[in-house]
């Protein structure tokens, strides 16, 4: 009996010590993880996640208050990267439904007010005063900031058109 108690006590103490050391050894400063998470986010500060900018979103992620799928413009890629960083399994099925979007300017409505040009966090819109503005699709994240800024509703989001290089087979059974 005594031997059992003693051996279990020793075992418990040893393991506890191990855990304690591990906790110190592998301790990650909370600020560090927030910074790392923020680095994974697009950084366009679009606010679509409902937090004030990407830093706020990273904080919420670190606190476990937001799911890894919080960033709409980031899409699947960002969600996966976040899940890996946080060591959680991501349920990406909800994202599967949402298709990536792209802003597009309807030329007949644009009055060249440059509001969208100023609103875009990634400099994806080009134009000048009283000139029709245009969207660079390589730089647009589909964050919709420009859509809200346009006084004539000339900017809208359209699904990113497939090209021969981006087209992929659909999943079997999901035609």
């Amino acid at each position: 009996m005594l031997a059992a108690v003693a051996s279990l006590t020793v075992l418990g103490a040893a393991l506890g010590l191990g855990l304690g050391i591990a906790a110190r050894r592998f301790h990650v400063e909370p600020e560090e993880i927030v910074a790392e998470l923020e680095a994974l986010l697009p950084g366009s500060q679009c606010g679509q996640c409902g937090y004030p900018g990407c830093a706020g979103a990273a904080q919420a992620l670190a606190d476990g208050k937001a799911p890894v799928t919080l960033c709409p413009p980031g899409g699947k890629g960002v969600a996966q990267a976040l899940a890996e960083k946080l060591g959680v399994s991501a349920d990406l099925s909800a994202l599967g439904e949402s298709v990536p979007m792209l802003a597009s300017v309807r030329e007949e409505l644009c009055i060249g007010c440059t509001k969208c040009f100023k609103a875009c966090p990634t400099d994806a819109i080009h134009g000048a005063v009283k000139q029709i503005h245009a969207v660079l699709k390589e730089a647009c994240t589909g964050c919709a900031k420009c859509v809200d800024s346009c006084p004539t509703e000339a900017v809208g989001l359209v699904p990113v058109p497939a090209t021969l290089t981006t087209w992929t087979w659909h999943k079997p059974g999901h035609a």
Partner: protein, 512 residues
């Protein structure tokens, strides 16, 4: 493992532990004489018929061109030029449905033949073997030759690589293991001398000593013709190999002919070999000996829905519909139209799509031949898929990961090594579309990769914008501060002047 092809025939079969034997459906088409497609009224020449960058047009709408004239030049290191398939007028440069399962459009040049089919003047060298190897490579590059087995990789780039890394053996792929296809078979029977000459030119271009030509033993006539043509050239060895799908896949053929394994994620050149298809070798022969660019090719038009299946020589740019029409049209609405072979080819979204340099076959298959419609059942873990996979993968495990939205899990299991041969789907008793899962997952992984690259570049843009805004704000503030300082200095000066003036006035007053 030894080079299976050097062993006696009865041993070969038992040493190959992968692959399947689908019904080959090659005859009688393979035994019928080749016919030539009359010039269609329009040719649609895609600027991209190859792996790499699209070609850049060098002619304008309205230009009259001769057969073999350069229409679009190679636009990058990995790219290939496009030439006029006949003489005529360029009537448009536009977009047109690509020969691709999506049916999306791609840039094409539209050529209206003038019916004269007049060649450009060519000045082929008297003895190409006297030329330096790089010069032969340059001629192949200028002729727009690409891998004609379907891979469409620019051939000259491969030759240059072979010369640079000093490969020892040129593997010539005459396997043609896909069912239905017999264009390579026909080419070897009818033009064996040209093919062998092309092989010798390719050997010269890469500086290798030996060529091994792998031909499946279900093509005895082609083997005989090639053996006869190669008899005077001991460096060209014709090696019959067992008919086993996918023998015509590069990695498998290399292993059977040389016993060498291409390292995972490696190129054939890493194993000291280079692979060219027999059609490509023939195109090299035409390019170097006759100075003729690649403007036409042999296409097998077959499948249960085709009334008069045939091997047809077609100009690049003729529509699939024109070839079917030439073969007396389709007897029934096909369940699927495929460009290439039934196992690895691409289903076509529309028969308006043109024949390109890599088009080996056009198949119109009936519902019966496609043999689908059975619903996929659950996996019974029979491991048939594992035993046939030529890449030693675990198709059932990979598919399970992909089904549960975990393409990365499949990637860990070697998804990228999957050559998409379809053997696993072919044998699966539960009719699970395994290779379809793999195509889907490869696409999904590539899309993820693109998304990652994009989000990185976007982050750069955002930071650049923030920096710019900060800089602008700072400059504004600095400018404002400068102006303020200037204003104050001016004020101070004015005040000083005023002071001086009053002081002067005061002294004047005093003096007065």
């Amino acid at each position: 493992m030894p080079a299976v092809a050097t062993l006696p025939a009865w041993l070969q079969r038992s040493l190959i532990r992968w692959g399947v034997h689908p019904d080959d459906h090659k005859r009688p088409v393979a035994d019928l004489p080749v016919e030539r497609l009359p010039l269609p009224s329009r040719l649609f020449l895609p600027l991209q018929q190859h792996v790499g960058a699209p070609a850049r047009p060098v002619v304008k709408i309205g230009d009259h061109v001769l057969k073999g004239q350069l229409l679009a030049e190679s636009a990058a290191n990995i790219s290939a030029p496009v030439h006029a398939s006949t003489s005529g007028r360029i009537v448009d440069i536009t977009t047109y449905p690509a020969p691709h399962p999506s049916g999306l459009e791609q840039p094409v040049m539209v050529l209206e033949p003038d019916g004269k089919d007049r060649w450009i003047d060519t000045a082929p060298p008297a003895d190409p073997f006297a030329l330096p190897p790089t010069e032969v490579g340059r001629m192949v590059s200028a002729a727009g030759v690409v891998g004609m087995g379907g891979a469409t990789f620019p051939s000259a780039v491969k030759l240059a690589l072979g010369l640079r890394v000093q490969v020892e053996i040129l593997i010539v792929n005459g396997g043609e293991c896909e069912p239905y296809l017999s264009c390579d078979d026909r080419l070897m029977r009818d033009h064996a001398a040209g093919v062998v000459d092309g092989i010798r030119l390719a050997l010269h271009a890469i500086g290798a000593q030996e060529a091994r030509v792998g031909i499946e033993n279900n093509k005895p006539e082609a083997i005989a013709a090639m053996q006869q043509a190669a008899a005077p050239f001991p460096e060209v060895r014709i090696m019959p190999v067992p008919a086993q799908y996918p023998m015509g896949s590069d990695k498998q053929l290399i292993q059977v002919l040389t016993g060498r394994e291409v390292p995972f994620d490696g190129r054939a050149a890493d194993a000291g070999v280079l692979v060219h298809n027999v059609g490509t070798c023939h195109a090299i022969h035409q390019a170097v000996r006759l100075g003729r660019p690649l403007v036409e090719r042999l296409v097998t038009v077959s499948g249960g829905a085709v009334r008069r299946p045939r091997n047809v020589v077609a100009p690049i740019g003729a529509t699939a519909q024109a070839l079917f029409d030439y073969c007396d049209g389709l007897a029934s609405a096909p369940a699927r139209v495929i460009m290439g072979g039934p196992m690895m080819g691409n289903p076509l979204a529309t028969t308006a799509s043109p024949v390109i340099k890599g088009t080996s076959g056009l198949l119109a298959l009936t519902q019966e031949e496609v043999g689908e419609g059975e619903r996929a059942g659950p996996c019974i873990r029979c491991a048939s898929c594992v035993s046939v996979c030529p890449m030693n993968l675990l198709p059932l495990e990979m598919a399970a990961h992909i089904r549960s939205d975990d393409p990365d899990g499949a990637f860990q299991l070697g998804l990228n090594d999957c050559i998409g041969c379809g053997c696993c789907s072919y044998v699966c008793p539960s009719a699970i579309p395994l290779s379809h899962y793999f195509s889907y997952a490869k696409g999904a992984l590539a899309a993820n990769e693109r998304a990652k690259l994009k989000s990185e570049s976007i982050k750069k843009l955002t930071t650049a914008r923030l920096e710019r805004q900060e800089r602008e704000a700072r400059e504004k503030a600095e400018a404002a501060a400068r102006r303020k300082a200037e204003r104050e200095a001016a004020k101070a000066r004015a005040a000083a002047q005023a002071n001086a003036a009053t002081a002067k006035a005061a002294t004047a007053d005093v003096n007065a």
